[in-house]
Each structure stands twice: as structure tokens, then as C-alpha cells.
């Protein structure tokens, strides 16, 4: 079994961190991955320096997209919009435990990150 379905990631899938919605958050965005049917509703509060104070998500998706979103909610706290803009596939792969994702799963893995980056942009940060 590839390490995608390790117990640790499955924990994040079954019982994700920060699942839910932050009301009146500065960042509030819906995104989907039309070809595989993944969806995410992502909200994030910023502190006075525009760094992420808290991020939550809701959505539907595969283990990769849900675990990546769950892990990301912890990872991004305290980061500036520039730092978040600089994150990429490699960082998500690290978060997921250092694996190399196949092309078919890249979009799943990036769903939450792309949503956050786009949400920050739309919020003018």
C-alpha cells in the first residue's frame, strides 16, 4: 500500500482539523475541481499584520484533497500572504509526508492551497 493511505493521513481525512466555517472572515471562497468533483469552502481570518490567524474549510473530496486541506489549516497560521503565495506542490507533498504525487492527484492536493491563494488575492492581500 502506498503511503497515501497511511493511518496518519487517514486520520486527517476522517477527522479533519479545523473543519467548519469562520463567519465574517476576510477570506471566504468556494472552489471546485470540476473534473473530479472535489469542492471546498474555505474561510480564513487575518491578524493586524494580514497574517493568517485562523483557517477553516468544509468540502467533499478524496483523501488527498481533504488531508491536504486539514494539514494546511495548521501549517498556514502566522504566515503572510507573500509566504502563502510562495507555497507550491512541493510544500504540499512535504506536508503529506514527503511523497511524490502522481499527475492524477496533483489537482486534488492543490485544491485547498489554490483556494487560499486565490481567496487572499480576491481579498486584496
Amino acid at each position: 500500500m502506498s503511503n497515501l493511505y497511511r493511518e496518519e493521513l487517514l486520520e486527517h481525512y476522517h477527522d479533519p482539523l479545523n473543519y467548519g466555517v469562520i463567519e465574517n472572515a476576510e477570506v471566504d471562497i468556494d472552489r471546485d475541481n470540476p473534473t473530479c468533483g472535489d469542492t471546498i469552502h474555505l474561510t480564513a481570518r487575518l491578524d493586524e499584520d494580514d497574517r493568517i490567524a485562523e483557517m477553516k474549510f468544509e468540502g467533499q473530496g478524496c483523501v488527498v484533497s481533504m488531508a491536504a486541506a486539514s494539514l494546511l489549516t495548521a501549517e498556514v497560521v502566522g504566515k503572510s500572504p507573500e509566504e502563502i503565495a510562495a507555497l507550491g506542490l512541493h510544500d504540499i507533498e512535504e506536508l503529506l509526508g514527503g511523497m511524490r504525487l502522481s499527475m492524477g492527484r496533483v489537482k486534488c492536493a492543490l485544491l485547498a492551497l489554490t483556494a487560499l491563494q486565490q481567496g487572499l488575492e480576491e481579498a486584496g492581500r
Binding site: 500500500m1 502506498s2 497515501l4 493511505y5 487517514l10 481525512y13 476522517h14 470540476p34 473534473t35 473530479c36 468533483g37 472535489d38 469542492t39 467533499q60 473530496g61 478524496c62 483523501v63 488527498v64 492524477g104 492527484r105 486534488c108
Partner: protein, 408 residues
């Protein structure tokens, strides 16, 4: 060749391989079929012994290649019972064939206010080109809905035909998701009675069913060689009168009769629609795939798959929390799609892959169909000549592993 003792299966070298020490269980033939040895050999043989550009060549190498290329066209024409070999045009894939009809026939025959009819179960390749045509020509795009059982709701058709605005009906002969085989005879009868041209998407049907375009009384049919064991090529069949009246689609070498600086005239059929150097060896190998199927007999192929699908539907329905899509076996082609409660199809496919089982996960290029059933995506196991019930057994075991791992 017989179906017993794995004789058919043994013709496919890729299926003799082990993946992670396990037998490769290929259940994704609706996406693309594996190739029998005769097709692989046809490619090597053309390139090693008899390759040259075709048509204009006066030397024997070119003449022999031309002969083989045209012989492949004739095999395909016979396979679908076209009235004439000239009605078969080589294209890259079913998608290009459908686009050819839309660009060439569609732009000249569908105008503002006209109605284009498709169905809710179409593959994107038989939907998006018509969306474009509707927008381009300011026409209306109307849908035949599907029932909960995954069949076309034919009660919706007569009203769409009644006002005389409908110009064309484009529909799949077999759904690549639900496996649905619509009642084409009735549909074509209704459409023709209303003077509506019928464009068939044969991408799934031609590899899996006996198809007779004359008996069907169809107008156009597009299909793909790669889905029936051939290489990366496809074909469009059309009725001669329609093809002759159509303007060319792609312009360039081989499709012209005469070229002056300011104007050109076109070749006769089928060359009018084959611009530039065709995929020559691919066409010849397409012919070899047709020979392979002809030898098996398409009625036998259908019966074999019906047995496989009957078994698969029964076994899968016993998997807890598994919901099957599509109709009963007698109206069901080789594609079996389902969803598992609480588990994303990507995870199903990824975990099955660990067991050497190849299935497809996603929307299978049919987003509106998935929206119709209110599911974001599905998992599809699709069967072909080389599958047997042991493949279904392995799939069921694999699905239990998926459930054990992911369901709480």
C-alpha cells in the same frame, strides 16, 4: 479462436504482465482498449517492410502502402455495413469526427432559431461541439432527459420534433458511464419522420455491438479505433449524399483536385475530408483490429460482455453501500459505473490500483450526467473481449478492502 481457455486474452501481450507481482486486471476499456498482438505486428510490419506516403506515389512501395490503407478503409466500411467504402473518412478519434460534422455539415445546415437535440447522457465530445454550434449560429440546444434508471426519456422527443425547428439529433449509441443502449430504431424513425438528421456517437457502441448503419438508417456515425484495439485513430461514416453536399473541413494536400492561386476545387469522397498525410500505418493497424473483431464475431463479443456485465451487476450490488448506475443487463453495454457511500472515487481507484486493478474515477467526460444524478463523480469498471468473471471477483475483493480502509 475461442473464448474458452483464455485464448482471446492470450492475444494481448500487456495482459500477460504482472503489476507488483499481481495479474494486471484491466477494467478501463471504455477509455481505451488494449491492443492484440496482430495490431502491434501490423504497425511493425508496415514500418519494417512497406512504408511510404500514399496516393500520389508511382513506385511500388507507395502503391502497396496505398493498397493496404484503402483495404483498411474497406474493412471498416464492411464492419459497419456502409453502403460504400467512400463513405468512411479517417479522423484522429470520435471527437474529431463529431467536430467535422459540426463544422462542415452543421455550419451549413443549422441556422438561427433552429433546434439541435442532444441527450443528457452525452459524452462531452458529443455535447460541447453542439454547444459551440448553437452559440455560433444562434440556434437552440435541447436535451432529451434521462430517467432515474439511466434510460432516455423518449416521451420528451416528439414535442422537440413537433414544431419543425429541429434540424439535427446527436446521440450516443451507448453511454460510456451508464452503459445504456438506447432504442435507436425508434429514435431514428421519429427523427427522420420529422426531417431531422441523426448523428450517432458510436465511440462505445462500435467496439462492443454489431453495428449496421444501413439497417439503422443513420446519417452520420463517429467512432474511435483506439477503443476497439487499434492505435490512435478514428473514423467518421456519413451518408454519401450528405457528405457530397458538404464543404470540406480541413484544407491542404490530398483533399484538393486543382489549386490555383486564388481558388481550389476538391477531391471526390472520401479524400475531400482527408487533408494532409493521413495516419497511414495507424489506419492499416485499425484494419487489423477490425479483422480481429470480425474473427471473434461481434454478436459473440456482445454475448460475452453481456455475461460479464450480468455477473458484475449481481456481484457489485452485494457490496455494502455500493450504488449502481444504469439499466438492467439486457440494455447495458460494457461500462459499469457505481458510487460508494462516503468514499471518493479517486480513493477507490487508487486503492484498487494497489491490487493491480485499473478502473476509472471521475466524471468520465460526462459532467451533466453526473449532475443529473446528483453525484460529484463515480467509479467505472468497463469490460471488453479480454475480461472474464475472475476480474469482477478481484474487483469485489478490492472494494471490500477500500471499504475497510476508508469507511467508518
Amino acid at each position: 479462436m475461442t473464448w474458452s481457455g483464455n485464448e482471446v486474452r492470450q492475444q494481448f501481450p500487456i495482459l500477460q504482465q504482472k503489476v507488483n507481482g499481481k495479474r494486471l486486471i484491466y477494467l478501463d476499456s471504455a477509455a481505451s482498449a488494449q491492443k492484440p498482438q496482430v495490431v502491434i505486428d501490423a504497425l511493425s510490419s508496415v514500418y519494417s517492410t512497406n512504408y511510404a506516403n500514399i496516393h500520389r506515389g508511382i513506385y511500388r512501395l507507395a502503391e502497396e502502402t496505398t493498397r493496404q490503407y484503402e483495404a483498411a478503409r474497406a474493412k471498416i466500411a464492411k464492419f459497419i455495413n456502409a453502403a460504400s467504402t467512400d463513405e468512411v473518412i479517417f479522423v484522429r478519434n470520435a471527437t474529431e469526427g463529431l467536430n467535422l460534422v459540426v463544422y462542415s455539415w452543421g455550419r451549413s445546415n443549422v441556422g438561427a432559431g433552429d433546434r439541435i437535440i442532444v441527450t443528457e447522457l452525452e459524452h462531452h465530445s458529443n455535447l460541447v461541439p453542439w454547444q459551440w454550434l448553437a452559440q455560433e449560429q444562434d440556434a437552440e440546444l435541447a436535451f432529451i432527459p434521462i430517467t432515474d434508471a439511466g434510460e432516455l426519456d423518449l416521451a420528451a422527443l416528439p414535442p422537440l420534433l413537433a414544431d419543425g425547428h429541429a434540424k439535427v439529433l446527436a446521440l450516443s449509441m451507448m453511454s460510456n458511464v451508464l452503459g445504456t443502449i438506447p432504442d435507436l430504431a425508434e429514435i431514428i424513425h421519429l427523427a427522420h419522420a420529422a426531417g431531422v438528421v441523426v448523428v450517432l456517437d458510436g465511440a462505445q457502441a462500435v467496439p462492443h455491438l454489431p453495428v449496421d448503419v444501413q439497417a439503422l438508417d443513420a446519417d452520420f456515425m463517429a467512432f474511435s479505433g483506439h477503443k476497439l484495439g487499434g492505435p490512435g485513430i478514428g473514423a467518421l461514416w456519413g451518408r454519401r449524399e450528405l457528405l457530397e453536399a458538404m464543404p470540406p473541413f480541413l484544407f491542404g494536400g490530398d483533399m484538393i483536385l486543382s489549386v490555383r492561386k486564388d481558388r481550389s476545387t476538391w477531391s471526390e469522397l472520401p479524400y475531400k475530408f482527408e487533408a494532409g498525410t493521413p495516419a497511414i500505418a495507424e489506419a492499416i493497424a485499425f484494419g487489423a483490429a477490425i479483422d480481429f473483431l470480425t474473427e471473434l464475431g461481434m454478436e459473440n463479443v456482445r454475448q460475452h460482455e453481456r455475461r460479464l456485465v450480468t455477473y458484475a451487476l449481481a456481484e457489485l450490488s452485494a457490496v455494502p453501500g455500493l450504488h449502481l448506475l444504469g439499466p438492467a443487463p439486457e440494455k447495458h453495454g460494457g461500462a459499469v459505473s457505481f458510487w460508494l457511500e462516503g468514499i471518493h472515487p479517486h480513493d477507490v481507484a487508487a486503492i484498487l490500483d494497489e491490487e493491480g486493478i485499473c478502473v476509472r474515477a471521475g466524471q468520465h467526460c460526462a459532467a451533466p450526467l453526473h449532475r443529473r444524478f446528483g453525484i460529484p463523480a463515480s467509479t467505472r469498471a468497463s469490460y471488453y473481449v479480454y475480461n472474464f468473471n475472475e476480474d469482477t471477483d478481484a474487483l469485489v475483493v478490492g472494494l471490500h478492502k477500500v471499504i475497510k480502509l476508508l469507511r467508518r
